[in-house]
């Protein structure tokens, strides 16, 4: 489209941000905006667990058991569908490869479920192979509840709504089914580099 907006001059972007790291339609944020559909849930760590389900529970870890698994540092860029990107965010967490290692490899999709009722769907191939983690630490500190603590999913190559806050488990599914935002018309996959914000993008 040839339309340009009279009087609009850009960019006023941070010149230090490498444009090759900022997907189309995004801008670099230096704070860490919070987006959630409802109140922030709070759960005591001694009542927290993480469960892999297939029909019913397949494997469950308590908080202590999860924290006893090997954690790794992760430094990644994250991209929110509301158009902010944040570069070089530093997390620590347990790779989903570790959690899914001995679990039935048949189902091709997962649905992450969370305290507060939030869900989001992902192909299993996008949460394995070193691409996704259950993170418990952000910038060296325990993950703040506002940002999904005690633990959230981290899937940095997809829009950040896929990195479900307050995650409590994964449901293994043979067929893809929409999670919370996907049911309201957000994209089933959500690749920021292809600007898959909404269904049909």
């Amino acid at each position: 489209m040839n339309l340009f907006t009279r009087g609009f001059r850009g960019p006023k972007q941070d010149a230090s941000a490498d444009p090759a790291r900022v997907p189309p339609g995004q801008h670099v944020a230096h704070d860490f905006p919070v987006l959630s559909a409802g109140p922030t849930p709070h759960v005591a760590l001694d009542r927290w667990s993480f469960t892999i389900e297939k029909g019913g529970p397949v494997r469950t870890w308590t908080w202590a058991e999860l924290r006893a698994l090997p954690s790794e540092p992760i430094t990644v860029d994250i991209h929110c569908v509301t158009r902010w990107s944040k570069l070089d965010t530093k997390w620590e967490g347990v790779s989903l490869d570790t959690l899914l290692k001995d679990v039935d490899s048949g189902p091709s999709y997962v649905l992450a479920f969370c305290d507060g009722g939030y869900t989001t769907n992902l192909p299993r191939a996008d949460v394995t192979g070193g691409k996704a983690w259950i993170v418990h630490t952000y910038e060296g500190q325990p993950l703040d509840p506002e940002h999904g603590g005690p633990a959230r999913l981290l899937v940095p190559h997809l829009y950040f709504w896929k990195s479900a806050k307050w995650v409590r488990g994964l449901r293994l599914l043979d067929a893809d089914e929409p999670g919370f935002w996907e049911g309201y018309g957000y994209h089933m996959y959500g690749d920021p580099w292809r600007e898959q914000r909404y269904a049909g993008d």
């Binding site: 340009f4 907006t5 409802g38 109140p39």
Partner: protein
């Protein structure tokens, strides 16, 4: 609740600014002429895209300020370090054009059949979707009662003040009060919510929109007062 809108994808279309309304020293409303606008629900938002002469593009999402059945309008508050809001609040004038797509969003919406009683809490420009909801309630003849809590820095920062004023609007001014101010004069806290929010026993439906710290305090406070988690819908905006 069924999903809404967005079926079949969204395309960018050209919107022309049909009028500019100064709301406060830092906020203005832009009424938009969007050919083929499919109509919107109260609480939805719209994406806008600005393109500079040299091809640079910036996109942002804004809540829709008008009621369903009215032409789309957005109200923008200037962020001093922003890239888009200074343009929309200072430079843009009637007849200018940019691209929009929408409406978007199906969760932070209110339809008359959703009922109430409605408790709406807004911090600063978080009042924008609340105006759409309140106008829609009035225009649709909905019998549900609604109370609006507005937190602003000063009285002159209150957007749509003349339109919204009424017995069920409660202000709190966090920074500066006019002489003789008898309303609340602090950031929202649990005690304030206990005094102004509908009692939980009435099973209210709450919408909370504003900056993150405001939304966190209000949403957590309503849950502490007994509101059902699923009856507290939030929309937060960051500094970006």
């Amino acid at each position: 609740m069924a999903g809404t809108a967005l079926r079949g994808g969204l395309t960018w279309v050209v919107a022309t600014v049909s009028s500019v309304i100064e709301e406060t020293p830092s906020a203005r409303t832009l009424e938009l002429d969007v050919p083929g606008w499919p109509g919107h629900l109260a609480g939805q938002h719209v994406d806008i895209r600005l393109t500079s002469e040299d091809g640079y593009r910036a996109e942002r999402a804004y809540s829709i300020a008008s009621a369903p059945g009215e032409a789309p309008a957005i109200t923008v508050e200037r962020l001093d370090n922003g890239e888009v809001s200074p343009y929309l609040t200072e430079e843009v004038r009637k007849g200018d054009a940019f691209e929009v797509r929408g409406p978007i969003g199906g969760y932070f919406v209110w339809r008359p059949e959703d009922g109430g009683p409605l408790f709406l809490a807004a911090g600063g420009s978080g009042v924008v979707p609340m105006r759409s909801i309140l106008r829609h309630r009035r225009r649709s003849g909905s019998p549900v009662k609604a109370r609006l809590l507005l937190s602003a820095r000063t009285l002159e920062d209150v957007i749509y003040r003349a339109e919204l004023e009424g017995p069920d609007v409660v202000h709190t001014l966090t920074r500066e009060r006019p002489p003789g101010w008898s309303g609340y004069a602090r950031r929202v806290d649990l005690d304030l919510l206990r005094e102004v929010a509908w009692p939980a026993i009435e099973n209210p439906l709450a919408y909370v929109c504003g900056p993150t710290p405001f939304v966190e305090v209000v949403a957590a406070g309503l849950v502490a007062l007994g509101y059902a988690l699923q009856r507290v819908r939030t929309e937060r905006f960051g500094g970006a």
